[in-house]
Symmetry: C2
DNA sequence: GAACCTATCCGTATTAATACGGTTGTTTGG
DNA sequence: CCAAACAACCGTATTAATACGGATAGGTTC
């Protein structure tokens, strides 16, 4: 093998980028050709460094991994994207695959798996870590994910985000209503809407969703 | 400077260990002399590799960072410990400092900060990242942390852990009672107790506590 | 401009969560 | 061995959260 696979990495945490750098040392199959702190930087990087494979965190400031992936696949369809995430979450997986990612890794991955993933997507196939693979199987089995009908895209209104954040601070609907100068019922309506959007059963589900999707900082 | 500071690192995630490895390369001040996946391994490592400074994750399988730190400080009082955590959480900070840690870093640290922390604790002083430092200031200001009176150690009974885990799965008290074959009231009593122990206002507080303290896996 | 969508808002009824109070049995430290 | 502490359990009363239903205003599409 005389051409090494060119890799670019995007993650807002330096420690993760460094971790990947080291995982990619001392082997001849792939080489790191650039790193980015967010989606926008990643786009420039793809343009200049011409990587074969991009490993991108899903949650990043400025531009997240989903949008970056979409933009990359539009402009450079031959660049393969591997999504990187803390959580093995249904909607995150679907979002990234929908955006064109060909791989999905959790952040507790290791060197052999990383190289396998890189090699696999470079060869045009898909690679999912075992937990994600299991999730996908279950999603299809439960028909939660129907490939013929697009999954609704969850987006929150400013008011909904206000309420999610305050909920995560353990404020009751009454307290939130008072803070935002609304009727309690209005706050409760928003909560119902959020519950529906997140597929939650109750407030706890909303909070867990918010944490997994980094809508709030712990 | 002819003696480099000897560092050992303990974290159950390979990617973090690799990240730290790389952060410690290309500089002459410190050198990594060993790595461990959990507290027990770390203890052996300290014995054999004789590090000056240990950087330890708080949450690890087999033996956590708090217990490992305590054991290290007991047997090797000259070894300085820097705690490493995802969260800037009051009780985690207090636990580690109580166990004898001289530094506290969040996992989104960077190379200069890491080296500063290592250098500082090596010189016998303490280093807290700015967020932790702020927390400590606030804790003292609010007298939440009274250095003359030990903070109560929070431990959960098996039943309480059962209930915490089921709560995080969005089960209601009624459902939990049914699953565990208890009265609803019993479950509710446990919840009250947990709320008290965690200093939470409601169920949401319990869930956030559980996530921060890794009592549950997301 | 009519039909549609959606964010924001709110009332009523039901169910769940919480506050306060208490019993029993076990473990533990003096 | 006794007192104290605590785990596990439950009843009653109050407050909060949720289900179901609907109103209004602003923007978009056809």
């Amino acid at each position: 093998m005389y051409t090494r696979i060119r890799i670019a990495i995007a993650d807002d945490h330096e420690i993760f980028r460094e971790g990947f750098k080291l995982l990619l040392r001392d082997q001849t199959e792939a080489q790191l050709v650039g790193e980015a702190e967010n989606g926008r930087e990643l786009l420039q990087l793809v343009e200049t460094a011409k990587p074969d494979v991009v490993i991108a965190d899903i949650k990043m400031p400025v531009m997240d991994g989903v949008d970056a992936c979409r933009a990359i696949k539009k402009k450079f369809p031959d660049v393969q994207v591997i999504a990187l995430s803390m959580f093995n979450e249904d909607s995150l997986i679907v979002d990234m695959l929908e955006a064109g990612a060909k791989g999905y890794l959790l952040k507790n991955t290791n060197k052999p798996e990383l190289l396998t993933a890189v090699r696999t997507v470079y060869e045009g196939r898909t690679y999912y870590c075992s937990a994600t693979s299991d999730k996908l199987t279950r999603m299809i089995a439960e028909s939660k994910f129907n490939p013929y009908r697009n999954q609704p895209i969850v987006r929150f209104t400013p008011r909904e985000l206000d309420i999610i954040k305050l909920m995560c601070q353990q404020f009751t609907s009454k307290e939130i209503a008072s803070k935002l100068d609304l009727s309690i019922r209005t706050v409760e309506s928003h909560r119902e809407k959020i519950q529906e959007k997140t597929g939650s059963k109750n407030a706890i589900g909303i909070v867990i969703y918010a944490i997994k999707h980094e809508l709030v900082v712990l």
